[in-house]
């Protein structure tokens, strides 16, 4: 990680140069529509989508706010209203600091000194914002008040951005998303601005006053002149902001509707009295709750240091995995550009770090290869008070498996790749590694009570969890005494590492009957496959092998992101379909785990009329054990077709 930070710093160019490069994009010629024929490729860069057409040297760059017509099919993608509006908030331990209070104080004030500034409730029309930030001194997070100034100005800017979006899109018009490219299209803004629009503007502002609000906003925008961080840094004691808000009543009113959770202000600080200690303990227990109630924003200054601090890491991963999203406030002028190095660096880290933490947890809780202290040491994270570590560890292990995909051609594939048997000694193998799984129409969706399958904390207390049994470590298992009378099915697990595969396999092995009942099949075999972008931690198998499968039905157990975006899963499923196997998906990571069945599932026998597509017949030698050490993803097809692939 340090290497990446150094590299990010090394490749960083002067601000003026980066600015000119952004300008270069803005100064490129813009088309009204994508009217050129030919094979298109595209990439999304910030708020723009850029198309290239094979054989043409011209790039077609569109603002996502005005996309080409081929992206006209969109779905509603509004930020959800704060969870805090729908749940009964705890009576103790959870405190919030309204933004107007922070503006009055102009610094981060110790919980005990806040008095009447803090509130315990979040009402309709109020937005809870969890601030994740680094402490800059042991006993005072923000000795100079700089962080307070940045937070206040960023949030005021977000309200302004929300007003601009409301004017351009319509106050009650939802944000839209294109399913084709998986991105927001049409007018939109940052997650924080969209949250302000949904939670603060819509309930409190009507179209009649929106114009006035926009006018108030733009009069400030002109002063800031695209350099919010420098402007905020120079606003000593937030005197300028207070002066501006005195003459802008609508904006001033809205600042009272953003409620901040900042640790120093919202948890009793040492030294604590006995009641304060109780309040503190309650507050710590509600840390994750505070994040789930609203939106987490990260004050980004030093990415590397931020992610090496235990509390910050916990908050970032919680936002990423449990709360679903986060936003970033720039802590330095050079971090302002969402396409710039530090932003990209944080995004990259947030793809990798949850995977590394997850592997450490699997090693500790599932394989018992290390104890929790060693796990934290290996993660190279630090904490000011060592007494906090057990608590942080407990919260980290309560976070389920990461559900976002980061794959590379160098992913290591281990386990057993099931191939549909076509005749004795022969099977069908994929010919190429496609990018995505084609999605035929869904037949039916059935709930599956498997919400805990990807959680380690349900296996017992720290140090007392049930270790993975030997059977689950086997990547291919056949069951001869399966429920009779129903069509046979094979269960194919695709996971992000061997540990995760074993975790799911253990669940399948012990809850097989539930799956059989839900799907109306008898499970006759089970395989697991790990497609691992960061092969660290325990490898229980370490080979890649092929296995023929006769069952006419295949149930793919994986996370929903792999259903759409994993080429290994795509190859597995397409080959099964090409061999006439009926397919169902058991998706484990969504809010409620469920089974999605495709046409023809369950089948009594393979469909003999299935088209072979991109698959070919291969011979399987029963003596072939596979490849020790697994196979890199880029060599997977060669391996499956009979080359060593190593």
């Amino acid at each position: 990680m340090r290497f990446r930070q150094e590299r990010a710093l090394r490749v960083r160019r002067p601000l003026a140069l980066e600015a000119i490069r952004r300008e270069q994009d803005l100064l490129s010629h813009r088309p009204l529509d994508l009217t050129v024929d030919g094979h298109h490729s595209y990439f999304v860069s910030g708020d723009e989508i850029v198309f290239r057409v094979e054989g043409s040297p011209v790039t077609w760059r569109f603002a996502l706010s005005y996309p080409p017509r081929l992206l006209a099919d969109t779905i509603d993608d509004d930020v959800t209203e704060p969870t805090a509006w729908r749940v009964l908030l705890p009576e103790t331990g959870l405190w919030w600091l309204p933004l107007d209070g922070l503006i009055r104080q102009a610094r981060l004030v110790r919980w005990q000194d806040l008095g009447g500034e803090r509130v315990a409730t979040i009402a309709q029309g109020q937005l809870p914002v969890f601030i994740s930030h680094r402490w800059l001194a042991v006993d005072q997070p923000d000795p100079t008040g700089r962080q307070a100034r940045l937070i206040a100005w960023h949030l005021l800017a977000a309200i302004g951005e929300a007003a601009n979006i409301a004017e351009a899109r319509g106050l009650h018009e939802p944000r839209r998303r294109s399913d084709i490219v998986g991105h927001r299209v049409g007018m939109g803004g940052s997650e924080l601005a969209e949250a302000c629009l949904v939670a603060v503007l819509r309930p409190t502002v009507d179209d009649g006053v929106l114009g006035e609000l926009v006018a108030e906003t733009r009069s400030i925008e002109e002063l800031v002149d695209d350099d919010l961080v420098s402007f905020a840094e120079a606003d000593d004691g937030l005197a300028k902001m207070r002066g501006l808000l005195e003459r802008r009543p609508l904006l001033a009113e809205l600042t009272s509707r953003i409620h901040l959770w900042i640790d120093y202000c919202c948890l009793p600080q040492p030294p604590r009295t006995e009641p304060e200690q109780a309040e503190f303990r309650d507050g710590l227990r509600l840390l994750t709750t505070a994040q789930l109630l609203g939106l987490t924003v990260i004050l980004l200054d030093d990415v590397e240091d931020y992610t090496r601090r235990a509390w910050c890491l916990l908050e970032a991963i919680t936002a990423y995995r449990l709360a679903g999203d986060y936003d970033v406030l720039s802590g330095l002028p050079e971090n302002t550009d969402p396409l710039g190095g530090p932003y990209t660096h944080l995004s990259d880290l947030l793809l990798d770090l949850p995977q590394l933490v997850w592997r450490a947890m699997l090693d500790t809780e599932l394989f018992r290869a290390i104890d929790w202290r060693e796990a934290m040491t290996r993660l190279d994270i630090s904490v000011t008070d060592p007494d906090d570590l057990p608590f942080i560890y407990d919260l980290l292990r309560a976070i389920p498996a990461p559900n976002r995909l980061h794959t590379l051609v160098g992913d290591l594939v281990t386990g057993v790749f099931p191939l549909p048997q076509t005749s004795a000694g022969s099977a069908l193998a994929p010919s190429k590694l496609g990018a995505t799984v084609a999605e035929p129409p869904r037949e039916r969706i059935v709930p599956l009570q498997w919400a805990d399958v990807l959680k380690l904390s349900t296996r017992g207390a720290v140090g007392k969890t049930s270790a993975a049994p030997v059977a689950a470590r086997q990547p291919f298992v056949k069951w001869w005494k399966a429920a009779r009378g129903r069509p046979k099915a094979h269960v194919a697990i695709v996971a992000s590492c061997e540990g995760e595969a074993v975790l799911i396999a253990d669940w399948v092995d012990t809850h097989r009957a539930e799956l059989e009942t839900t799907c109306g099949v008898m499970v006759s075999s089970r395989s697991w496959l790990a497609d691992d972008v960061a092969p660290v931690g325990t490898l229980v198998y370490g080979w890649l092998a092929r296995a023929p499968v006769t069952a006419p039905n295949w149930i793919i157990l994986t996370q929903s992101v792999r259903r759409r975006h994993c080429s290994v899963t795509a190859a597995l499923v397409e080959t099964a379909r090409n061999a006439g196997r009926a397919v169902a998906w058991a998706l484990l990571d969504e809010e409620a785990a469920h089974v999605v069945t495709e046409a023809g599932f369950p089948a009594r026998s393979p469909n003999p009329e299935a088209e072979r597509g991109d698959a070919s017949q291969i011979r399987l030698d029963p003596r072939d054990r596979g490849v020790l050490g697994g196979v890199y993803r880029e060599n997977l097809i060669a391996f499956l077709r009979g080359d060593s692939g190593a």
């Binding site: 003026a16 490069r21 300008e23 803005l26 100064l27 010629h29 040297p57 603002a63 351009a168 007018m187």
Partner: protein, 299 residues
């Protein structure tokens, strides 16, 4: 001393040396006249392709001879006879060799101060490289764009210089060309400094802001700002750097007017953008604004 045993070689060699002297003296008109006069002899297979003996020990003269031969070949090519040029720049059926030779030739032309001729060569090569792929293409496209950017700078076209140098930088980033990234980053930084010195930086920022306002749906503000920008562009002398943004400015105004449901004015502005793009030899402007006009006319 030319080898006297072979009269033909002697004559051809002496002719070449005489013309080389004219080339070194920088007398292009006389050189062109001589080439026209001896076009048939110069088109013979052995003409100018071998380095004359007196020059072989002198590296500087050897290099100058290559530039001279290419210059003669280009004059012949302009007359419609590409035989010598093809012999000098390699077989035309191997695109990689052809691109390499063309880049070498463009470099020589550039070194000789013939920026327009260098650009003409580069334009074709860049267009071909952009629609091709492979490691050879990866190695050549960045430097080709960088050279075109340097030519544009020397021609005084700061707008094209920034655009092309930025493209060169992106290409080198894409291919992992570390040396290229360093070179073009520095070039771009220098261009920024130079541009700001001429007040162009502020002008660019205003135009970029107009695009940002458009992208944010703030069309009235974008139009107001852009009308100011266009007033400056259209009033600027033909050689002023701001003129380089004329196509973009009118094209963006056309787009804004289209979104504000004023198709007639939008079409007028887009037509101006297309004309300005053609005048500047800006291929992307021509393609994009032609397409935009189609969209506008279809309604």
């Amino acid at each position: 001393v030319p080898n006297g045993d072979n009269d033909h070689e002697h004559e051809g060699g002496q002719l070449g040396l005489d013309m080389f002297g004219v080339f070194l003296a920088g007398d292009r008109d006389t050189l062109a006249n001589l080439v026209n006069e001896h076009a048939e002899e110069l088109a013979l297979p052995e003409a100018l392709t071998g380095l004359p003996a007196p020059l072989r020990e002198d590296a500087e003269m050897s290099g100058a001879w290559v530039q001279f031969a290419v210059a003669v070949a280009e004059i012949l090519a302009e007359r419609g006879d590409r035989r010598l040029l093809d012999r000098l720049t390699g077989p035309a059926d191997n695109p990689i060799v052809r691109w390499q030779n063309a880049l070498g030739q463009a470099e020589r032309l550039r070194a000789d101060g013939r920026f327009v001729a260098s650009d003409e060569l580069l334009t074709g090569v860049i267009a071909e490289l952009r629609t091709s792929s492979g490691t050879a293409v990866d190695a050549m496209l960045g430097p080709a764009l960088g050279m075109a950017g340097a030519n544009a700078f020397d021609r005084g076209d700061m707008v094209a210089a920034q655009r092309l140098t930025d493209e060169a930088l992106r290409e080198c980033e894409r291919t992992g060309d570390v040396a290229g990234v360093a070179i073009y980053s520095e070039n771009l930084a220098n261009l920024v400094i130079t541009s700001d010195g001429e007040g162009q930086g502020a002008f660019r920022r205003r135009l970029a802001r107009a695009q940002k306002l458009h992208d944010a749906g703030r069309l009235i503000e974008a139009r107001t700002l852009l009308l100011d920008v266009i007033a400056v562009v259209d009033a600027a002398p033909r050689d002023a750097p701001e003129r380089g943004y004329r196509s973009k400015a009118h094209g963006l105004l056309g787009m804004i007017l289209y979104r504000m449901h004023d198709p007639t004015w939008a079409e007028e502005e887009t037509t101006l953008a297309l004309e300005a793009g053609k005048e500047a030899g800006d291929e992307a402007a021509v393609v994009i604004y032609t397409a935009n006009l189609d969209v506008l006319r279809r309604g």
